[in-house]
Homo-oligomer: 281 residues x 2
């Protein structure tokens, strides 16, 4: 991939001018580059190009080198790793690899670290709370009535996730009231950490229609009966959450409301969750 | 890999007894299996074994098939993908692939979806707040004094992360008081969502010693002066957070405290963050 060339009337030594093919890369804001491999390539060709490119990036003082490989180009994973790349993160459709050129310890940011879930406290005007029994998972066959729970999707607001899960599991329509509390735990899922937000919702419909294959059954249950279940009484976290729910029922608890806001630079719409008593935002 | 065999005195047809080599797999709690490839293997051998194993798992009615491939065994990524596996998640040292045997839509849980960060509101007895200017990132060169922020590590409690970041950025020792608010935003980092928790901390030392290469400078600044900065005034999220900090300074705000608890089944220690006024947990 090296060719000699003359420029104007000068004879330029071969070592001075090189037409080296390199991988297409775009600069990032942290002194690194990203290669997005959209087209297929032979593994050996890729490895040669990658070597030449790294050499060039080193000369340019680049730091972190990112390669995004769509799963169709899985043949390029092995050559990248052989050139010193390691895995950063993966999604079903692609693998992101990364390499650090400087001699100093890398400052590559970590991958997403938390799964986020919601538990929904839905109480009707009779002081009854919406509870379910699950078909799968740890609660299977225990007879424990529990709050509907679910995983927050990437890109989904907590308040929307709570409404969606309740609808999916019980058919009940709701509106978001506030976050009562949240719990952080660790090593819950492939070593990741976990945040569970307890959301209070107000029901807008009352006829339960179990719609979800994960749910064995659902019902309205007096909040006091929910809290009095032996399992709830005997498990600290469940007991604490039940106490918060009862306190909320009796109007002596204030959680965090969802206040629409915009984030700093990009002015993206998002929610700030905070106590709104005694402060005007 | 098929061999005929006789058992006792019966002649058993070849099709009835097969000694098929299969991949070692352990059952999971959801009707699936996990293969943890700890030893190296030839790519072609792996592909044959994988095919035979999938056939066996199908007969056994298995659903989700997980393969954990350490980065040393990168040669096995391509054969797995060619057999229909896709990427689930990756960490620097391994890639997790997954396959769904039934004809029905898969119920494979999603990867971690959120990055989690903290912003630290540290106020001394003079009503001054600890602020920094950053060397890199979006605030570089803006002259804006901002609260110390940082990423929560996998496995790290929010309250500990806040204390660690303040110590790393300014040398100030602190203790956790409460979570004032949190903000969820989306598409912030490789498409992942982002949760930022604003933590109030009480300083236990007062002499700033900038220790972190990410920080240009740090100082104590009157909370009112922090809030009055044009950048803070003009950006909704920053303005709201500053108002909460001022309300907290004037003792008319209640956030969420960190209440030690244990999670449901495993009794792991964790924190429940909630308002503790008017409720005994």
């Amino acid at each position: 991939m090296t060719s000699s060339s003359s420029v104007g009337e000068c004879l330029v030594p071969e070592s001075r001018i090189q037409q080296v093919k390199l991988l297409n890369a775009s600069d990032d804001a942290y002194g690194g580059v990203t290669v997005d491999m959209k087209e297929p390539m032979d593994s050996d060709d890729f490895r040669s190009l990658l070597r030449a490119s790294i050499s060039q990036w080193r000369q340019q003082g680049k730091k972190g080198i990112w390669i995004k490989l769509p799963i169709e180009h899985v043949n390029l994973v092995e050559p990248a790793v052989k050139e010193g790349f390691w895995y950063h993160h993966a999604e079903p459709s692609y693998l992101m690899l990364v390499y650090w050129i400087p001699e100093t310890p890398h400052t590559i940011p970590a991958n997403a670290s938390h799964r986020v879930g919601i538990g929904a406290f839905v109480m009707n005007h009779k002081g009854e709370v919406l509870v379910v029994q699950e078909i799968h998972g740890k609660f299977k066959g225990t007879g424990v009535w529990k709050l509907p729970t679910g995983v927050v999707d990437e890109g989904e607001d907590l308040c929307d996730a709570a409404i969606r899960e309740v609808k999916e599991e019980t058919g009940i329509e709701t509106e978001f009231v506030e976050i009562l509390a949240f719990r952080q735990s660790h090593k819950s899922f492939f070593g990741k950490s976990d945040l569970l937000f307890i959301c209070m919702l107000r029901p807008l419909s009352f006829d339960i229609q179990k719609q979800n294959s994960e749910i064995e059954t659902a019902q309205w249950m007096l909040a006091e009966d929910y809290a009095a279940q032996p399992f709830v009484q005997n498990h600290m976290q469940f007991n604490s959450i039940a106490k918060l729910c009862l306190a909320k029922k009796d109007n002596h608890y204030t959680g965090f409301s969802a206040v629409p806001t915009t984030t700093g630079f990009s002015a993206k719409k998002s929610y700030l969750y905070s106590n709104i008593q005694g402060v005007e935002l």
